[in-house]
């Protein structure tokens, strides 16, 4: 789950992620990795990839502003393990 989320963030927002190590607690918004429209893209991805429904009330930084928070949010939503055919990557660093 963590690897899938990290890979999505690195690939969907490459300008922000380029050359940076995204730690689990890195603020995605404050660091400039993603902007407000990017959050909406992230939400769409979480909904489609993990089969969850993100309500308006869920749209708070506490749930979405770092990879750690996203993983905890997904766990609370019962997202469980990622589908077997999902992408996976160990590192959060983009090489360039």
């Amino acid at each position: 789950m963590r690897d899938i989320v990290t890979q999505f963030i690195c690939e969907a927002f490459p300008a922000g992620a380029q050359g940076r190590r995204i730690e689990g607690d890195t603020s995605l918004l404050e660091s400039g990795l993603i902007d407000s429209t990017g959050v909406l893209e992230l939400v769409e991805f979480l909904e489609s990839r993990f089969g969850i429904s993100v309500d308006d009330a869920d749209l708070v930084p506490e749930n979405l502003d770092s990879i750690d928070r996203i993983c905890r949010f997904l766990a609370r939503k019962g997202a469980g393990a990622a589908p077997a055919d999902g992408p996976a990557r160990a590192s959060g660093r983009l090489s360039g």
């Binding site: 918004l29 990017g38 909406l40 708070v60 506490e62």
Partner: protein, 333 residues
């Protein structure tokens, strides 16, 4: 450490004189033009700029261009006309609805809105999009909600996804960009400048359209926060019905305020916070002075910083590889 300001009060007579001298100097000596054209929206910013242009140039050298379209508030045009009459300036009216229709602006927006709300009827329903309210009270990320109001008063609401939001913005921004085209057409024909109406609250947070209302020759009130605009507007005699109006982009038939649409903070608090943030006052210090919690001020500052980052390109010339030329070549003396 910089101190946060508890008041943004201005010395209105001095400021009116300073701006009118700026306008006269720019129009006559720098641009060497005969007058100024102002897009009169029926709102306080354009009314103030028109009044200051009259003070600077005289009413016979100011043209008010009124450019309604079918989603404008019905109140806007009469107010713009009334303000022009008070100032004694000539006006011209251009209905933008036909050109926006020809460009597909309404059709594109309608398609997106019907995708979000299949019951939406563009002929009868009123619509608007809004951000979560009360930023200082609740920590929510920015997402837009579409509200469709049926003639019977019933409302349907749905969240706008990123692709839909981009398509809506692209269609909506055709409005401001076509206003720019109309303004420059009149300005070139009359040998006038286009006087902009963007204020400081809008400028620093990127609340204007690139090559739309941001494309002008001079920006007479870009140094004034919105609360200062209200103060100066009263001083120069902007009609009270305009001063009392809720500030709005006036591009949605459902009537949306600037606070609902963009800022999420009332202007009186917004401007004080923006001023503190802009002057480098720490959030904790600003919170103490403004009677907010540290978390509230920090949240506002985070929002300001995110908007500054997202809209930087609106405030600069297009990046290029052109080497800097001597100022004497690039600018008139």
């Amino acid at each position: 450490m910089n101190e946060p300001r508890k008041s943004l009060a201005i010395e209105a007579p001095y400021e009116a004189g300073r701006i009118s001298r700026f306008i006269a100097d720019q129009v006559i000596h720098r641009f060497r033009r005969r007058g100024a054209v102002v897009g009169l929206s029926g709102g306080v910013d354009s009314a103030l700029v028109a009044a200051l242009c009259v003070k600077a140039l005289g009413p016979e050298r100011v043209l008010g261009l009124i450019m309604p379209e079918k989603e404008s508030s019905q109140a806007s045009e009469p107010l713009a006309m009334e303000q022009a009459a008070v100032l004694g300036i000539l006006t011209e009216r251009v209905d933008l609805t036909p050109v926006l229709t020809a460009l597909g602006a309404y059709e594109q927006k309608c398609r997106v809105l019907q995708g979000l709300c299949p019951e939406y009827d563009p002929d009868t329903d009123r619509t608007k999009i809004t951000l979560p309210p009360r930023l200082l009270e609740q920590d929510r990320v920015n997402y837009y909600s579409l509200t469709v109001e049926k003639p019977d008063g019933s409302r349907h609401s749905s969240r706008v996804g990123p692709d839909d939001l981009r398509e809506i913005a692209a269609a909506q921004n055709l409005k401001q960009r076509n206003r720019m085209i109309q303004l420059y057409h009149r300005a070139e024909k009359l040998h006038y400048v286009v006087a902009g109406t963007t204020n400081r609250s809008e400028f620093v947070q990127g609340f204007f359209v690139k090559h739309g209302d941001g494309a002008v020759d001079i920006e007479p009130i870009a140094h004034l926060y919105k609360t200062q605009v209200f103060e100066l507007a009263r001083h120069v005699g902007v009609i009270e019905a305009i001063v009392q109006r809720q500030p709005s982009p006036d591009t949605w038939s459902g009537g949306v305020t600037d606070e609902e649409f963009y800022f999420r903070i009332p202007y009186d608090q917004l401007d004080l916070l923006l001023s503190a943030w802009g002057e480098g006052v720490p959030a904790e210090e600003a919170a103490r002075e403004l009677g907010l919690s540290a978390a509230q001020a920090a949240r506002a500052f985070r929002e300001f910083e995110a908007r500054r980052r997202a809209t930087w390109h609106l405030r600069v010339a297009p990046p290029s590889l052109l080497e800097p030329w001597p100022q004497s070549v690039m600018e008139a003396t």
